[in-house]
Symmetry: C2
Subunit: 210 residues, 2 copies
DNA sequence: CAGGTATTCAATAAATCTATTGAATAATTG
DNA sequence: CAATTATTCAATAGATTTATTGAATACCTG
């Protein structure tokens, strides 16, 4: 094989994999699958896609071998093929957040109305946890918490938070986390909790980053 | 802004940046720019593109803010915007090499005819260097060597290697490196040197990875 | 400022990607 | 086995991406 043909082949394959990620819905799906396994229907619901359309996008990811499937009865569960897929997603996310002013602006504007406090970084949370003066709260759906969570974190899914406030100690500071920097569960939790008089911030990133 | 509109905006921007990488030529350009700055003409030459076409691809990367430019006289030099762009490229490369059997196969087939020895990893080279029994050889063009190289590496651009063999000590093992895992300069060097009786292997990855 | 060189722009046709729709398939339940 | 449910497939129209071509622009040299 000639040198040029070799390179065309290699970069062509590389681009094919990259293209399989280069779509808003598929990126959202990858971000979701970083939490846990989900069925096609669940994925469609979470991402506001029709089931057929979600399925098509999942086929694209599967063809690129970025996701794996397991059948359980009539349900087919999708998951990320491995941790490197998450790392690639995160590397793209990092570049995008850093290079693209729109993303930061949109995120800030979305959160501003709640006059939210500055999010805490992963490093910051580690320090707070070592000093022991913090309650860590996971507001993702229970299944995702069970699939993995920050050690000693409490689980109160966001939609039940208002009714379960009394489970949270009033004295300690609370740090809430959810799926990732683009997940709004933690923002909603911060709004609810600060209104209820808690000292609360959100973790900047999400559990998979942790 | 509604939750769905927020997500559509965020993932849309993310996908736009990902799309700017999702093309074989643009990936090759990013891989090249990881070495040093290059003018449009140089980029076009290295990647076998017409100048106009290379320019268009560079515009796409520039619009995504993945590259920066400097004008020097009539030349315009492009460079990667920062190290995170290289990290994103590498994360994609890692996933692709791991998930896509074609890439490994093509790379192996291309190298096999030379009955090349197994490449050494970055870790492996570090160990060899500590024991001091290795000559490290950089076969990239001189400008790239000058832009940055492995400490104590010799520089002999691949096209001059055959004529400058006497500069290399015969006794020590040689490890050659070049631009990256898809760069064939190191493979050519291994072929030349092993034919000349040297004990030689290539570094699996390239200088930017180091 | 005229001529030359490096780069970008603009227009276009071919190829590829996307969402939608409705039908087909595969496993489970009764 | 028929009915049900979850998922995939197939066809298609509209949108986007790409390479090519030739012209336009920006800067340098003399």
């Amino acid at each position: 094989m000639q040198k040029r043909a070799f390179k065309d082949k290699i970069y062509g394959e590389l681009a094919a994999i990259t293209r399989s990620l280069a779509n808003p819905h598929r990126l959202e799906i990858v971000d979701l699958l970083a939490q846990a396994d989900f069925s096609v229907e669940q994925i469609a619901e979470q991402t506001n896609l029709s089931v057929a359309n979600a399925s098509q996008h999942l086929q694209v990811l599967k063809a690129a071998q970025l996701v794996d499937v397991t059948r359980q009865g009539t349900f087919i569960y999708y998951r990320l093929a491995n941790a490197n897929v998450f790392k690639a997603w995160r590397a793209l996310r990092t570049v995008a957040m850093e290079r693209n002013a729109t993303i930061e602006k949109v995120a800030r504007d979305f959160r501003k109305p709640d006059s939210a406090p500055e999010p805490v970084s992963i490093e910051g949370l580690r320090r707070k946890m070592q000093s022991g003066k913090v309650t860590v709260l996971d507001v993702r759906p229970e299944a995702e918490y069970e699939n993995g969570h920050i050690a000693d974190a409490l689980s109160i899914p966001i939609e039940r938070l208002s009714r379960r406030l009394k489970e949270l100690p009033k004295r300690k500071e609370i740090v809430v986390y959810c799926r990732g920097p683009f997940c709004v569960f933690a923002d909603e939790a911060v709004a609810i909790l600060s209104k209820a008089g808690y000292k609360v911030t959100r973790l900047e990133e999400g559990f998979p980053d942790w």
